[in-house]
Every structure is written in structure tokens, then in C-alpha cells.
Symmetry: C2
Subunit: 158 residues, 2 copies
Amino acid sequence: MVSAPLASVRSGAPAKERLRLWIRILRASRLIEAVLRERLKTRFDTTLPRFDVLSALDRAPEGMAMSDISRFLLVSNGNVTGIVERLVTDGLASRTKRDGDRRTSIIKLTPAGKEAFAAMAEAHERWVDELLGSLPEDEARALAGTLKTFESNWEGGV
Amino acid sequence: MVSAPLASVRSGAPAKERLRLWIRILRASRLIEAVLRERLKTRFDTTLPRFDVLSALDRAPEGMAMSDISRFLLVSNGNVTGIVERLVTDGLASRTKRDGDRRTSIIKLTPAGKEAFAAMAEAHERWVDELLGSLPEDEARALAGTLKTFESNWEGGV
DNA sequence: GTATGAAATTTTAAGGTTGAAATATATCCG
DNA sequence: CGGATATATTTCAACCTTAAAATTTCATAC
């Protein structure tokens, strides 16, 4: 035995503290998600996963491969298959083959998809602003900064 | 027309700022959840929702009604039905009727359930500590405080 | 060119999730 | 008492989600 576990050495009781933080992050995101989901349903008759995919596609006018979408949204490949399928059926997205690689589909928003997303995005932004309205501007910025650093560290570390 | 929209008056461009924050919260929680889910599966052959229910039950030695569980975990009633069903099948939870009200079931951990949860909780706490390890202690505390306030405001407002 | 392995995607099975409808029980009030 | 209303829960259909297996296509090395 060379030393106590690192975690115990770092400081008082960090594990408990971080666990509490994690629970708070989880609850906050679930509270917000629940409201957004419900509003997307009642006002636009759509779902959060569909909105997420539209949102990803909207930032990529040149289109995205299926795997780009799943990587960006942090969901599995098979998951995206079904959602895109329904978006295509509904006329909001299109899929074409990429020249030179018949494995890859390129998914794009259709004009109808762009239009539908624009309306949703506008409402979505208002809702989020409302739901997070109790956070003072500076705290929001600080929080975002901390989480950004966290996410950056993720790629390298974990 | 009396005034510009409140959001625009409060300060520069708060909506965008809060939207960014929301996206970061969402991504952070998805990143962490993905790891926890994968580890619960490989090391304990269970799922995050099951773990969540066990965790809720563990804090309530006297047992919980189905609706207590769903309210606490922020999920729907019907959802809990299925998860508890499987926990009971696996011998980790028990359901009994409450005297005087035959609508209500009281769900409790069995001894096997307590034991299984204890092992998982210990690992879970270590994992979270590891995954959030890149956050300095003071930032973690600040973040938790902000989120706590946010959650408190929730009940009153929104 | 042809085997071999890598890459992109879909399929499949199991389970999670919701909102709404259905069921069962309790309570309240005239 | 008996009907109306409220509460606790389950059922249902549709969709989301994952991990793993299967499929298709590509790239590389003989």
C-alpha cells in the first residue's frame, strides 16, 4: 500500500460533491426537456428527437451523412435511421447518394424542412430563454464556460 | 405597441446566451449518461432507468407509491409500471397493498435489491467522480449552487 | 483480380418513454 | 344511499433508444 486513493487525497469529500452536481445537472436537463417536448408536441406536432435532427441538418446546408448526424447528436446510428426515415416520409428531409461512395447517404433539409425548422427554432429559442430566465446573465455565462471546458476536456481525457 | 419585448430589454442578447447554455447542459448530461449507461450494462447487466428506480427506493425504507416514484424521477406513470414490473420479476423490489386504499401499491426494495443497489451505488459514485474529475472543486460547487437555485425557482415559477 | 479487412448503414431484439384512454377504487355531497 | 368527481394505476399505440449482428460497398494488399 503506497497511498490512500487519489480521490480522497485531492480534498475533503469531492466524490459526494460531484455526485450532487451530477444529480442537479440531470434534473435540470430533464425538467427543461420535458417542457420542450410537450410544447413541440402541442404547438408543432413533432418530437424533440426530430427537432434535434432538423437542427443538425439546418447548420449543414451541404448535407450530412447519417454517421455525422449520430456523432453530432450523441445518439446511436440505428437511432438516426428511423428518425430520418420519418422526416423523409414527411417531406422535411431528402436523401441522395454521394458520388463515388454508394455506402453513404447525404441527408439535407428540403425547402419545406427549412421552413418548418425556422418556425420551430424561433419558438424553441424563446422557450429556452423563458425557462432559463431565472438565471442571471453572468451566472449563465459562467456556467456555459465551465461546461464548455468540461466538454473540451472530454475528447482528450475521460 | 408599448415597448420592445422584455427579453431584448433585459440586456444585449440574452436569448442566444441562454440557448447556448442549454445546449451545453444537454450535451454534458448526454455525454455522462452514455458512459454511465454503458458501464451499468457491462458491469452490472442493468440499465440506467432501473438504477434510477432502485436509487429512489433506497432513500425510502418505508416504500414508495408508484406515483411517488414517477414524480421523483420526473418520468411518466406508465413508464414506472414497466420498470418496477421487471424489478419485481428479478426479485429486487416488492409490491404490497396499502391498508385502507386498494388503489395504491407500496414498492420497496427486497434485501437482494438493497444489496444489489449498494454495490451499484458505490461504483456509480466513483464513476461520476471520475467523469466530472476535470471540474475544479470550487467550480463544481458554484455550478451546483446555481442549478439548485434554478430548480427551486422552478416550483414557484415556470 | 481477388481475398481481406475497414467503413457506412440498416436491421433486429429488447427495453424505455410518452400522452391518452381505460380501469378500479375512494371521496364527497345532496 | 347513490351519483359525480377525483385519485392511483395500468394499458395501449407510437415512437425513441441502444448494442449487436447483418449487409453493402469500398480500399488495400497481394
